[in-house]
Symmetry: C2
Subunit: 456 residues, 2 copies
């Protein structure tokens, strides 16, 4: 079986008309199709032309537990949600009586090991930038020891000048994506379309391992590649023109092409950042919330000590960063602050997402189904070795990807056969099913792929 | 009458205990008091100790139409809202069938004159940074004319280096506040607590007029001061070490101390930015949505041509920027883009806010009540000339402020008498009542102020 009958045109005429109308007031050039969310359900998305797609792209990896999920609908209708929507607080000044419990019984249930504090935000970009600010303030706090702010620091920062506005850096990796704000974009290195024409900080980038597949066959070469990249990180930390306050890394480089590295690489990164007193930030915006068959992607690293901060967004339906070190709370109030500090409505919804994930063992399901899916994809890759290359993500839940010759054409053909699927990097197709994707969906995806591949 | 009996302690013991508990997982050092939002209603906020306050601070100027507003509650319970909450789209790729109409019948009803397009966002910081990015892309587009991106631009931007990552600037004014992201913070010049230890772009700041009050008495001196500031803007645009792509200005500098300038100043700013091909961005995060007795603060400027972009957040309960020039839409899709592009749940709520404002003529009410309030404050200022200084905001709705000797002490005393009120700048008390603040609330505020002032 494949997902559905061949679709004549994606986007269809109704989608196209709706998109053109939208484009008069809102840039709609990136629209894939216009969606009928009322008809979408579970892991299937329905467009306004009535076409139904198995959705393994999931709103750029951000739908956690399916469209029109009943548990989320119940949370959305709750009196607490109504209040959070209509009485939006400046959380830092006037939190609700319930705010502690919403965090404690929600986000903190999902807190990575060793990280027991949280700062809430509204997007992955914002979460990363807040983590950078925390790292910069920590760096300067250590330099200042117990000393007070100097008058020179206080006045110079208003001029954007040193010493108040210091020249400090965040190190990121080539091909990484960490967001589109001016700080987060300065650490993003994925594609020109993300960065061109936007001023950026002069911050360092290290090479990220470029592994060869299959891994078993290239173990020695891949280990050497990872050692080379780690050595370059260390060299940059030692020699960059200004101090580096933090290193940020994705457990799997997602937008940049689903680039993986081994636990040994990340263990090395943790060891060298710890040795040099540099914060390590795990950007789990795309890998977090179960997608790799663990709640957090960095659990695969088997670290002796956790990352200093872990940022999240997407499937969480809210955003922010977890941390453990109390020194990451700035020396004074109002330094890490903004009017809203996240959105309590989205944090409430996140609590329901976490309950749904834990109550239904969806992380374990993702690991299990991922193994089944990977095995089926391996068979396809054997059958179509020229078409499916560098299959990767084994043991990483459904966080699986492979390269194809023409990703745009492949994705278009898949859509016509009723599977909504996405790309990343230059030549990569990435699978980002929701956590409710189960064994029954595997043949729908595989058979559709085979139909597309055999027609190439 | 004053608001209520003298409150023994703010925060009270229940608030204090809740805040201490919260502080174990979430930085709670800036908490004023913990709120019982279920008991709060209209323009009154109730804390968990049962104390009731007339709220003229409104969650840092961000509650538009009162706590537990019935029209907003209806919107929050609507099927459209439930769907927007639980089926959160990547709006740029998969907008809902309703998205055009939600914008057209919501935010675009409130669009400033001359600006008929919108980009949605989640915070004032983000809105400003998106506007900066639009300005930078427009600047380079004009330089590039119809030329394509060069290979050198494409590769250099991944290194954060010119020409792909160009050295371009945004000019802002001394004492301005435009947010806390790395780009927006580089234009914020209000206080060290906002900026210290965070790397910043080397961008120019111009002096903002420091007017003397009463305005009638200092007309010539103030006009000269405004001319001096405009001349300095022009000089910076001509001589800054790199091109300036945009100037951003608040209609009233809010966090920086409620600093006003005359329509002539803003007309001059529009004229000189237009002459030099520099974008003018009006940051209406705090002044927008009716607070100055006009829907947009920049309506007071009586400009012949509108600002190029107008950013908003706070009372809108969502965020974004309006624009008119189609060239501000980048040359390619995905350049101004992110996963969520705002939150449709908040945009739906904003539609209800706009309906509530327009249906109840709340902008006109704000203008009318503001005049009454200002007249009463003038009387108080005459009676207590040493205590209330530089009263300002005449004809600007309820967007009124004055200086006091000890703003922290004043605000604490007001709270004990049942009025929640805020400060800004160094010595300023700012009034930020909701749009439902009416003539019956004026004596509550005035009498409480008189009780506090007479006890000084």
């Amino acid at each position: 079986m494949t997902a559905s009958a061949l679709i004549d045109q994606v986007p269809g005429p109704v989608s196209k008309a709706a998109s053109d109308k939208l484009n008069t007031v809102f840039d709609a050039r990136a629209v894939h199709f216009v969606v009928d969310y009322d008809k979408s359900e579970g892991t299937y998305i329905v467009d306004v032309d009535g076409n139904k797609y198995l959705d393994v792209y999931s709103q750029i990896a951000s739908i956690p537990v399916g469209y029109n999920n009943a548990a989320l609908a119940a949370a959305a209708k709750s009196p607490a949600m109504i209040s959070a929507l209509i009485n939006r607080p400046a959380i830092g000044n006037y939190p609700s009586a319930q705010w502690h419990d919403v965090l404690q019984n929600g986000l903190l249930r999902a807190a990575p090991r060793g990280l027991d504090k949280i700062f809430t935000a509204q997007s992955g970009s914002e979460a990363n930038e807040l983590a950078y600010k925390a790292a910069f303030m920590l760096y300067r706090r250590k330099q200042r020891a117990a000393g007070a702010w100097t008058p020179e620091e206080v006045s110079s920062c208003l001029d954007n000048a040193a010493p108040g506005s210091p020249d400090l850096a965040i190190l990121s990796f080539a091909r990484s994506f960490h967001g589109r704000g001016f700080g987060s974009l300065s650490t993003t290195r994925s594609k020109a379309v993300h960065k061109l024409d936007i001023p950026a900080f002069d911050w360092p980038q290290a090479p990220f391992p470029q592994l060869q597949y299959p891994l078993e066959k290239h173990a020695a070469r891949n280990a050497a590649e990872e050692a080379r990249c780690l050595a370059r990180v260390e060299e940059l930390l030692q020699t960059w023109r200004c101090p580096v306050a933090a290193v940020i890394v994705e457990p799997v480089q997602s937008e940049g092409g689903d680039n993986h590295a081994s636990p040994a690489f990340f263990q090395g990164l943790r060891a060298l950042t710890a040795r040099r007193g540099v914060c390590l930030i795990a950007d789990e915006v795309q890998t977090g919330f179960g997608a790799t068959g663990r709640f957090w992607g960095h659990e695969h690293w088997r670290l002796p000590a956790p990352p200093d901060m872990v940022t999240f967004s997407k499937k969480a339906q809210t955003a922010g960063y977890f941390f453990g070190n109390p020194l990451l709370v700035p020396d004074q109030a109002y330094r890490q602050f903004n009017t809203w500090i996240g959105d309590p409505a989205r944090v409430l919804l996140c609590k329901a997402v976490i309950e749904e994930i834990l109550d239904n063992n969806l992380v374990e399901q993702c690991a299990r189904v991922g193994d089944v899916l990977y095995a089926e994809l391996e068979k396809l890759a054997v059958k179509y070795p020229a078409e499916i290359r560098d299959l990767r993500g084994k043991g990483q839940g459904t966080f699986i990807a492979f390269d194809v010759e023409d990703p745009v054409g492949f994705v278009a053909a898949m859509k016509k056969r009723g599977v909504n699927i996405g790309t990343c990097g230059v030549s990569t197709v990435r699978l980002r099913p929701m956590l409710i994707f189960d064994e029954t969906h595997v043949p729908v995806l595989i058979n559709t792929m085979e139909a597309v591949l055999s027609a190439l």
